[in-house]
C-alpha cells in the first residue's frame, strides 16, 4: 500500500512541473462548462422550454455535469498505457513489485484528487456567477447512492480507457486509436452535453445497455432526484454489473496481452 501512496504523491508533484500548462488545464475546465452553458443559453433565447427542460433546469444540469465530470472523467486516465506497451516501456514495470494496473489507477486517483481540490474553488466561483438552482438531497440514502454511483463511474471509466489502450498489445503502433473512439462515444453518449432522457425512449433504453450513461447521466439523475427509490438501486446494480464485466474483461485482455507482448523497442 505504501508504494502506491508514494506513486500518488509523486503523481501529484508531477502535475505542478509545468505550471502554465497546469493553469491552462484549470482554464479548460471552466471553459468547458461555459461552452455548454452558452450553447444552451443560445438555444433558450428563442425557446422557453426544450424537451420539457426550462432554462434554469438545463443550467442546473450543465452545472452538475461540471461537478460529476471533475470526479469521473478527469485526465490522465491511463494516459500512456498504450504508448508504454507499444514502445516496450511496460517491461520496466513488469520487473518491479507493482501491479501495472494499480499503478496507473493510483495515478488516475491522484489526478482526480488534484482536479477535485481545484475544481471546488472553480465551482464555487461559477456558482456565484450563475446562481444555478441546486437542491441538495437531504436523504442520506440518496447521498450515499450518489457517492457510490460516482465511485462506480470512476472505476468504469478507468477500466474502459485501459481496455481501449490494451489494443497496443496486438497492434503496438495503435496507442491512441481505440481510446479516441471511446472518448468520442463518451463525449456525446455519457450525457455531458445534454440529458440523455431527451432522446427517444428506444434509443434511451438502448443506451442503458452501454457503459456510457453510468459515467455522467445517472449520477446526476440520482443527485437531482430524477431517479428515486428502487430505481436508484437498479441503476447502482447495473453500474456494479458493468464494473464486474469490465474487471473481468480487463484481466482477460491483460492475460492475453501478456502472452503476445514482445517488449518491442527494448
Amino acid at each position: 500500500m505504501h508504494k502506491y501512496f508514494t506513486v500518488f504523491i509523486v503523481s501529484l508533484q508531477n502535475e505542478f512541473i509545468y505550471r502554465f500548462n497546469f493553469i491552462l488545464w484549470r482554464v479548460r475546465n471552466i471553459l468547458r462548462f461555459l461552452m455548454t452553458y452558452f450553447l444552451w443559453s443560445g438555444i433558450f433565447i428563442a425557446n422557453t422550454s426544450v424537451f420539457g427542460y426550462s432554462q434554469n433546469q438545463m443550467l442546473t444540469y450543465v452545472f452538475m455535469v461540471l461537478i460529476v465530470q471533475t470526479m469521473v472523467l478527469s485526465a490522465p486516465s491511463s494516459d500512456n498505457i498504450g504508448g508504454e506497451i507499444g514502445n516496450g516501456d511496460l517491461s520496466n514495470y513488469l520487473v518491479k513489485p507493482v501491479s501495472y494496473l494499480k499503478y496507473w489507477f493510483t495515478r488516475d486517483v491522484a489526478s482526480k484528487t488534484l482536479n477535485f481540490i481545484f475544481a471546488v474553488f472553480e465551482i464555487i466561483l461559477l456558482w456565484f456567477l450563475f446562481r444555478p438552482v441546486i437542491i441538495f438531497p437531504t436523504n442520506f440514502a440518496v447521498i450515499l447512492g450518489f457517492l457510490v454511483s460516482l465511485l462506480l463511474a470512476t472505476v468504469i471509466y478507468y477500466l474502459l480507457s485501459a481496455c481501449a489502450r490494451f489494443v497496443s498489445f496486438w497492434a503496438p503502433e495503435n496507442t491512441w486509436g481505440l481510446a479516441f473512439l471511446v472518448l468520442v462515444m463518451i463525449e456525446i453518449l455519457a450525457g455531458g452535453i445534454f440529458p440523455l432522457n431527451i432522446l427517444p425512449a428506444s434509443i434511451y433504453q438502448l443506451l442503458q445497455l452501454t457503459p456510457f450513461p453510468y459515467l455522467v447521466f445517472f449520477p446526476i439523475s440520482i443527485f437531482s432526484g430524477k431517479i428515486i427509490g428502487l430505481e436508484i438501486i437498479k441503476v447502482l446494480l447495473q453500474s456494479a454489473v458493468y464494473v464486474a464485466i469490465m474487471v473481468w474483461f480487463t484481466k482477460f485482455l491483460w492475460k492475453k496481452g501478456m502472452m503476445v507482448y514482445q517488449s518491442s523497442g527494448k
Binding site: 500548462n21 482554464v27 471553459l31 425557446n47 426544450v50 491512441w176 456525446i188
Partner: protein, 259 residues
Amino acid sequence: MKEIKVWLRYTNNSFQQVLASRTSMIFLMTGKIIRVLLFLGFLFFLFKGAGGLGGYTKNQIIFFYLSFNLIDTLAQLFFREVYRFRPLIVSGNFDFVLLKPVNPLIRVLLGGADVMDLMMLFLLTIAVLFFTLGNFSITPLNLLIFILLLFNGFLVAAAFHIFVLGIGIITTSVDHLIIIYRDMTSMLRIPVDLYVEPIRFILTFLLPLGIMITFPSKALLGILSANLIIVSLVFGITSLFLSLKFWSFALKKYSSASS
C-alpha cells in the same frame, strides 16, 4: 519553391507514417465519422425538441454544422504538427529543426499533415456539395466570396496556430492551449448568431472563430453583409501578420531546454 518541395516531402513522409499503422487508422477514422454523425443526430433532436433555432431552418443548421467540420478539418489537415510541438521544445530537440536550412515554421506548423484529415476532408466536401446543391440556390458570386472567406478563415487558423507555437516556445506549454482552441472552435458547430452577447462578439471578433467558421457559410447562403466581408478579410491578414511577428519574437526567447 524550395519551401513547397520541402512541405511536400514532409507531407509525403507524414502520410506514409499514418498509413503504416492501419489498425489505428481504422479506429481513428471510425471515431471521426461517428463524432460527426452523433452531433448531427443531436442537432436533429434539438431542432425537433426546440421547434427551431434562432430563426434558422433545419437545413441551414445542418449546413452550418457541415461547413464547420469542413473548415475545422482543413485546419487540422495542415496544422496537425502543432499538436506534437511540445515534446520538441521540452526535450530541446527543436535545436535540430533550427539547424536545418529551411524555415523552422514550415516544419513545426505544416510538417505533419494527416492523411486521415485528407480523407475526412474529401468526405465532408462531398457531403457539403450534395447538401448545398440539393437544398439551396447558390449564386456564382456567393460561391466566390465563400471560397475567398474560406481562404481567409484558413489564414486566421494559421495565425492562431502560430501564436500557440510562439507561446509554446516561451512557456513550454502547448497541449492545453491547443485543446482550448479545439474546444472553442467546437462552439461554432452552431451559427455564432445563436450565442448571447457578449459571447457572440468575443467569438466573432476577439478569438475570432466566427470569422473563420461562420462567416464563409453565411456568405455562401448570401446572408453576410459586404461590410463584414471586408472586416473579416482585414482581420485575417492582420492576424497572420501579427502572429508572424510574435513567432519571430518567441524564437529569440528559445532557451534550448534539456539539450
